[in-house]
């Protein structure tokens, strides 16, 4: 946690075991205790790396069509060749290259929509916590209404107004994710507001903005970080779902969900076109969720071993 104080200056006589571990080290000890979380982290690092290095890693241009090799099977199948490791799709595009470039898009959508939901969500949540009477209850009512609409349906409705496309997908997903951030921030800020250190800051004359962002917010970060991980994974899922419905990123851009939309017609003869993009989505989302579980174990003070 952010407010853990460093141990008093250690003298040579002090027992090493008695000094506190650094917060980062302590966090890593908790996190690495969970093997699934570490596996998820490794997988996500690999995905992130291939997304960053996509132009150099991908063997081909993701939208280049090789008309001589339409629906070529992967290398390990009969008739597959090492030319296209994961085979090609119905237009002869290299599947591996599309998946690698798709990682860029998925991570971009996930990251952007998390930031776009988190920043206003945290601010609204803090306002709702600091002014619980009128402003707070107004904000919370509004969030209740947004929560009443099924997430995917709300996203679909927003895209229906804004029109399909990458930017609109991110906006729709961010709007859908907003209420959870507001609720979470408000709830943790409300508990923190009752603590003595907040009163002490108030008495010391801290201004509202300072109270909100310097005093209270750092102490609400643990649940927010865990939730951000989870909403990152659902953003990837929702983006893929919108793409699959034809409302998200438009072809020929290699988005994982969009790739599946066109693959439907080939389930009888080219399983790889259907299986590989979906498997990539599943594994990425699973990896992030595993990390989220690990983060919760490591950050949640209730489960933390008592010092």
């Amino acid at each position: 946690m952010a407010n853990v104080q460093a141990s008093p200056v250690a003298t040579a006589a002090d027992d090493v075991a008695l000094s506190y571990p650094s917060p980062l080290k302590e966090f890593w000890q908790g996190f690495s205790h969970n093997k699934g979380a570490v596996a998820g982290l490794v997988f996500m690092l690999a995905i992130t790396l291939s997304a960053l290095l996509a132009p150099w890693l991908a063997p081909y241009n993701p939208i280049e069509q090789y008309r001589d090799a339409i629906l070529a099977p992967p290398v390990w199948m009969d008739g597959g060749s090492s030319r296209f490791l994961f085979g090609t799709d119905e237009l002869g595009r290299d599947l591996l290259s599309r998946l690698i470039h798709g990682a860029r898009l998925s991570l971009l959508i996930g990251l952007t929509s998390v930031v776009m939901a988190m920043v206003p969500g945290v601010i609204l949540g803090l306002i709702a916590a600091f002014f619980p009477k009128v402003l707070g209850s107004l904000i919370m009512r509004l969030m209740d209404i947004m929560m009443a609409l099924p997430a995917l349906l709300l996203a679909v409705a927003i895209v229906a107004i804004l029109g399909p496309g990458l930017i609109n997908t991110m906006i729709a997903i961010a709007i859908v994710a907003l209420p959870a951030y507001v609720r979470l921030t408000r709830a943790s800020a409300m508990t923190e507001l009752n603590r003595d250190y907040v009163t002490a800051s108030r008495v010391a004359g801290a201004g509202l903005v300072r109270l909100m962002f310097v005093c209270v917010l750092p102490n609400c970060m643990a649940p927010l970080i865990v939730h951000a991980t989870m909403s990152f994974s659902s953003a990837i899922l929702e983006a893929a779902a919108l793409g699959f419905l034809g409302l998200g990123v438009q072809p020929p851009t290699p988005e994982w969900g969009t790739m599946l939309a066109s693959a439907r017609d080939y389930i009888e003869r080219a399983w790889w076109v259907v299986t590989l993009p979906g498997l990539t989505i599943l594994l990425s989302v699973l990896a992030i969720n595993l990390m989220g579980d690990g983060l919760r174990d490591a950050l949640d003070p209730k489960l933390k071993r008592a010092a």
Binding site: G36, R141, L142, D144, I145, A148, L149, P150, A151, L152, L153, V156, A157, V159, A160, I161, S233, L237, A240, A241, F244, L245, G246, L247, G257, L260, A263, R264, I267, E268, W271, V274, T275, P277, G278, L279, I281, L282, V285, L286, I288, N289, L290, D293
Partner: protein, 342 residues
């Protein structure tokens, strides 16, 4: 109990009005000519356009337009589809049973297996079964269900030929819709005329099974995880020790004394899953060409059939808040402490 219901009802109304505000605003945010968006009339003649604006009440101040909208809703006027010219309400009521049938089966599947897996995992905490169930549950929770549907179709329909690929019933059967629930209709038809409709019920069931599994996957995962953690918490309670000290059988201790209390948070989660279910229905119905509300909405969006989009979303949202209201009431029944809370 009655006052408890009334209190919950009081919370419900503002949410409903909020939703109407959103759907009212929705159609006005769509870029383009409002007459064209709302009734699909395209006219270049300014006089006719002004007439249409007046006829539709679009020349009134916005708050009066909202009052008109509420008035229309209250009197059951939900507008007409631009494509079929049928009333939105009629289309909704014809298609809704298909979605309900699918959702009920999915929830049944999710609840039965989710509860069972969660309870066993909690009792055998730390065992291979527990780890396996929790691993599978996290996988199910992370599942892109549209892909999951395709995979199941690929395996069970294409490869094994066990289940049909799409629709609710084989075209060979001609069954009059009576309840709108294909399982019941098919069963009734089969009972009425066994020679003509032999096997209709089985066929309807075959059509339903894959979509129900696909739609139920995420709720199944969520319910299993929630049941396990809730059971573990309740198993530590003093009253479970009391129940064992009474000499009750392990089954009774688990299923009556523990599960009954562990069900309370699980019920809440199930209620929240209804929203997920409606969102998932959009995807599942698209994959399986299931003629329900979800497919209807997606088709309406791609056809720019805005009256259907507007009030279709209103209907679904109303449904979700109603179900959550019912869950709240059930919650009160399951948990006497809530019911008696002042």
């Amino acid at each position: 109990m009655f006052s408890f219901i009334l209190r919950r009802l009081g919370l419900l109304l503002p949410t409903f009005f909020g939703i109407t505000l959103i759907t009212f605003g929705l159609i006005r945010l769509i870029p383009g000519d409002p007459v064209e968006v709302m009734v699909g009339e395209r006219t270049l003649d300014p006089q006719m356009h002004a007439d249409a604006m007046h006829r539709l009440g679009l020349d009134k101040p916005i708050y009066l337009q909202y009052v008109d909208y509420l008035h229309n809703l209250a009197t059951g006027h939900l507008g007409e589809s631009l494509v079929t010219k049928d009333s939105v309400w009629k289309e909704f009521t014809t298609l809704f049973p298909a979605t309900l049938e699918l959702a009920v089966m999915a929830m049944l599947f999710a609840a039965v297996f989710g509860l069972l897996a969660g309870v066993i995992a909690a009792i055998k905490r730390g065992s291979i079964f527990d780890h396996g169930v929790m691993g599978l549950a996290l996988t199910g929770f992370s599942m892109p269900i549209f892909w999951w549907g395709l995979i199941l179709i690929m395996f069970f329909s294409v490869k094994l030929g066990w289940t049909p690929v799409s629709g609710r019933l084989d075209l060979a059967f001609d069954i009059a819709p009576r309840t709108g629930f294909m399982l019941i209709d098919a069963w009734l038809a089969e009972a009425a005329d066994p020679s003509l409709n032999a096997g209709a019920f089985k066929d309807a069931l075959k059509h339903l099974i894959l979509p129900a599994i696909v739609l139920g996957t995420i709720p199944l995962a969520v319910i299993a995880r929630m049941t396990r953690s809730s059971m573990l918490e309740v198993l530590r309670e003093d009253y479970v020790r009391t129940a064992r000290a009474k000499g009750l059988s392990p089954a009774r201790v688990i299923f009556i004394h523990t599960l009954r209390n562990a069900m309370i948070p699980v019920l809440t989660v199930m209620g929240l899953q209804v929203g997920t279910l409606m969102g998932g229905a959009v995807l599942t119905e698209t994959i399986f060409s299931w003629p329900g509300i979800g497919k209807w909405l997606i088709d309406a969006i791609s056809r720019r059939d805005y009256p259907v989009v507007q009030n279709g979303i209103l209907m679904v949202a109303t449904l979700v808040i109603l179900v959550n209201f019912i869950v709240d009431i059930l919650y009160g029944i399951a948990n006497p402490r809530i019911r008696h809370a002042k």
